[in-house]
Symmetry: none
Subunit: 196 residues, 2 copies
């Protein structure tokens, strides 16, 4: 049915999820109904152009028409440029990187696969979400145990505790982020962009 517009609506969903925004929050920002959004994302219904623009704007996206022949060049810009601003402290970057490498080799150490996935997901987010100094300490502290995994491998229970702690930090960061780090994201308030 909505074969022609599938990629667009799919992109909408991807953008929303990338911003960790719920359908209900997007609903509030865009003026569309949550049920409406769900159906659009699922392909159950095809949005009107107006709805698409509303949803897109709420996600900091623009609906544009581009000549086919220019698409390669545009695509180049679109997926080469990393999306987030990456204003992390080098401390955070290093720590996340270290944990990342650790995880690559020891994911099997977790109690369950889902727990490992949760941990990985937390890491993925903390790679992009800046953490305030104090929380960085908590983060460091929570994962300090992993530094000694070599000569003293942590038990699964210890790992669970650590993963849970990291998860909490992630959650805190995500929630604070919406209003603090990405405050001028969507709204129609800032119509004024820089000039061309």
């Amino acid at each position: 049915m909505a074969y022609k517009t599938e990629h667009i609506t799919q992109q909408l969903r991807a953008a929303r999820e990338a911003q960790k925004m719920s359908q209900r929050e997007l609903s509030a920002r865009s003026g569309l109904t949550q049920s409406h959004i769900s159906q659009i994302e699922r392909g159950t219904m095809e949005p009107g152009l107006g709805s698409l623009v509303d949803a897109a704007r709420a996600l900091d996206l623009e609906v544009i028409l581009a000549p086919k022949k220019l698409m390669p060049a545009i695509r180049n810009i679109l997926d080469s440029t990393s999306v987030s601003t990456d204003v992390l402290t080098s401390d955070q970057r290093k720590l996340v990187g270290r944990l990342d490498r650790w995880f690559a080799q020891h994911r099997g150490a977790f109690a369950s696969a889902s727990e490992a996935d949760t941990f990985k997901d937390s890491l993925a987010l903390l790679r992009h979400l800046p953490l305030p100094a104090e929380e960085m300490d908590t983060f460091k502290e929570a994962t300090a145990r992993l530094d000694r995994w070599q000569d003293d491998p942590p038990s699964r229970q210890e790992l669970s505790r650590i993963a849970h702690a990291v998860r909490q930090i992630r959650n805190a960061a995500v929630h604070r982020d919406r209003d603090a780090v990405v405050p001028r994201s969507a709204y129609a308030l800032d119509e004024e962009d820089d000039n061309a």
Copy 2:
């Protein structure tokens, strides 16, 4: 009404006109109704996403979502790359240029202002539309009389005849251009009446 989507639909119309395509032809290529297209372009109604995509495809355009922050870069691509590729023979370029200069000085020689305008319009198009060799001959032949305007000024009737001939060449070029240069633009035709 359709304030949010005005620029998009406006762009649609601009693209269609730039390709010298009539609403009826776009209708045939896109599957939409001519009346539908008219209303969309006028802003009387807001198209669904499906309709927009259909119309866009028929015009060799793509509907895409782009992050706002990347818009400057994209806009750069969009309007830096100018119009058509201009693959004219040097013969055609020269001839058009000469006629252009001639016209700049002798537009008053035409029978009416509108006839002069028509001639200018034809020239403007032939500056960008490549002409096959045979037609170039016809073109040259039709305007040969102007080469002797100096010592033997052509009558208004002669001018009318020439202008008309040039106009015909222009028309043929436009039609051929649409069917040749934009052959694989729209798939809508293939779906419905798939005649070879």
